[in-house]
Symmetry: C2
Subunit: 505 residues, 2 copies
Amino acid sequence: MAKKVKTAITPTREEDYPEWYQQVVKFAELAETSPVRGCMVIKPWGYRLWENIRESLDVMFRETGHENAYFPLFIPKSFLEKEAEHVEGFAKECAVVTHHRLEAGPDGGLVPAGELEEPLIVRPTSETIIGATYAKWVQSYRDLPILINQWANVVRWEMRTRLFLRTAEFLWQEGHTVHETKEEAWEETKKMLEVYKTFAEEYMAMPVLTGEKTAGERFPGAVSTLCIEAMMQDRKALQAGTSHFLGQNFAKASGIQYQSREGQLEYAWTTSWGVSTRLIGGMIMTHADDNGMVMPPRLAPAHVVIMPIIRNPEEEEAIIRYCEEVKELIREQYYDGRRVEVILDKRDMNAGEKGWSWVKKGIPLRVEVGPRDMENGGVFVGRRDREKKEGYQREEFAAQVPAILEDMQKGLLERAKAYRDENTRDINTAAEFTKFFTPENADKPEIHGGFARMHWCGSTDCEEKANELKVTIRCIPFDYEQSGAGECVFCGKPSKGRVIFAKSY
Amino acid sequence: MAKKVKTAITPTREEDYPEWYQQVVKFAELAETSPVRGCMVIKPWGYRLWENIRESLDVMFRETGHENAYFPLFIPKSFLEKEAEHVEGFAKECAVVTHHRLEAGPDGGLVPAGELEEPLIVRPTSETIIGATYAKWVQSYRDLPILINQWANVVRWEMRTRLFLRTAEFLWQEGHTVHETKEEAWEETKKMLEVYKTFAEEYMAMPVLTGEKTAGERFPGAVSTLCIEAMMQDRKALQAGTSHFLGQNFAKASGIQYQSREGQLEYAWTTSWGVSTRLIGGMIMTHADDNGMVMPPRLAPAHVVIMPIIRNPEEEEAIIRYCEEVKELIREQYYDGRRVEVILDKRDMNAGEKGWSWVKKGIPLRVEVGPRDMENGGVFVGRRDREKKEGYQREEFAAQVPAILEDMQKGLLERAKAYRDENTRDINTAAEFTKFFTPENADKPEIHGGFARMHWCGSTDCEEKANELKVTIRCIPFDYEQSGAGECVFCGKPSKGRVIFAKSY
């Protein structure tokens, strides 16, 4: 067995993946649990990451013709009930507001009072409440399309929660659009999935598969749900974003009707699509290592930290001044259309400890400046994706920062792609399937888990056979017929192409 | 009587101010009521305005050392109860979550189920829930200060609501800081009020008075509440932002203690400060006129709209192309550090109607381009703050856009300042006070309402005498002693200086 290397995060991914994840989140200071069951506190470093996600997506949404707006937090119970599958899907886990004040109870404490005539649900998603407003806005085909996005908090009363991946309250964006024709709504559904794919790969450096969900995995009330699916470092799948073609289901539930070009009253066609703070969980599980978080440079809360190394107090002023100059040199650089973000960390603490705190936070570049570096006009630089640090002349380094960041961004995507591809297999028999997904093989990466590309007949019965091992169909890739026809791994009936089976978050 | 001019908004301000306000909001497409009691839908044009407010404030918060983070939507009832005045202040109007799912009831409909052990309150403000987290973060003086801001939605179950001014759910930011010393917390409280004043005046073009609230008008649980107060066009005051010095009240309630430099365990000193979507209401009532909204250029959702005037279809292509060129020329300009935002409105509708739709939305500049303008290389320009339109050569206009916007921005502030000053009076006797604030004088602006600068003895009794006419003390200006000593208008006892009395929103 290889000599055990000391890592900044204990346990390592190999030792205990779920616990490793919690520790990375903790030491990267991204988020923590709160005193409110299932709700998280997103700390400044994590929130800045979310702001960068939001700003980047906002540009893409605007470029595809969408505007932001804001709709109510609460949904009257009767609205949720309008779409049968929808309420079925969300009734089991929702926060219900029943009263509108507190008053002194019999034993002196405060008790809920002022009971509402109709309970309100804290939005788990907003199709029904937004639909009610759209029904008022839409009269004629001239009012279409409506292309609106909302950034909001939503609540789903999950019983088992995990920071970013599954929390009772989470932040997300939800696009809600209305169209004149089925074709246009379908085009929108696919276009927004493509936006998510581009964002996941080019910004998050997280490769994703795109495809359609099976009927059992659809959004409650949708006609079709498209998704992006990524592979985490434990080889499980993460559904990272969904785009729903809602047909006329919600238009009928909310009464969104328009006068057509032919003068007929028609129901409109709607879509909805969303990504959430879950993306941060995906980013962690795609890039972080046994030393902590690794931020993809395009979304990093900051790109560079400068750490003065002060051995005796007389040097302090000169070194700090030098660091300020280096900071200015770097801030003159642009990466991905914005100024390079630099932090000068003057905290009075042990240099090693300080350096590791930034490794764990995943900042792309760490710059150390000691007396010798200062004398030579140099800086000593650590890249988060390499072990060895390197010396540079300060101007030379500053000028290279954008190129280094871009190199890191590309490298992260390539590494993640390679990992996914290595752990994607064609599985051809039920026995192979069992072997691939059996927990006893969990410590044998050469045979265990990952994405299984398998022939499937399309039946719910065979889908459920996979469920016995906690495996689900993650998606039917758009191009699945290109893998060629074959026979269902479970029943032998004909299959048009391979679909993706995996365990998932 | 002057000939009645036709206005785009009916009624006019003079005819029916509250109804005028509703109509401005409606025709500017800023927001509308929703099917959920007291909750509003913020429409794209209004939401963009809010985004611009958020982005501008965020820069100012960052420059003063603050970071953004996010805390839970829900507050356990017991947390709210920890600070006696605080719960007293908010218990009467809060949304209470009592259940976490819906299930089929006896008559088939869904009923709340899964009762929570402890009810949760939808945050009306977050001192108590954030305090609980800060208590964990703060151990030693080295952990201080904590300077965090949150952008969030909050809920206060108001019985009488009005779009932007008073809604059950609203959007806001709330800063929550923790300090080692009383002095530092006081300095922060004042610093953030100053940020609000700068923002109100330089961005919103809304002049504000700054000062301290009386004990009766304080935030529940605060030691002192500072505020910015603006005058609306009906001469009522609008409290537009508050900054609270919380002393050690919330630190004690939440257990925020730190090891001091001397090794003692001490309670920390905290502040909180916030502004909300109410600012949009303030902007409307400061600048809008009888033709609708007037956007201060620095916050305008867009600066310029270009409207092609097409009289016959053959011209269409050439005019649109010309408009695209004008758009590019204007977009090359920068105003206030960002690209000038230009909309090309190609909607197929009556030119007059289209023009008025933009007047009502308050866009600073409207550019019309007809065949003749195109031939001459010109544009025809309407400024929202002037009646007459003017012709320009297109390059000349584009180059002047930033200067025109800045001129408008300054002009709005000056006009609002002049209005406020005209309607601010020194009031010296109880009889004058009554005359100034009596509703029967409502149609006599020369004597009715506004800000009354009055001597006040400091007693609650005299403050309550003013309340009989629905007048409150808006603030004790920081420099109130400069107005010289005098005698309380109500009781004749000594007063150190004049304070501001007014009716308010």
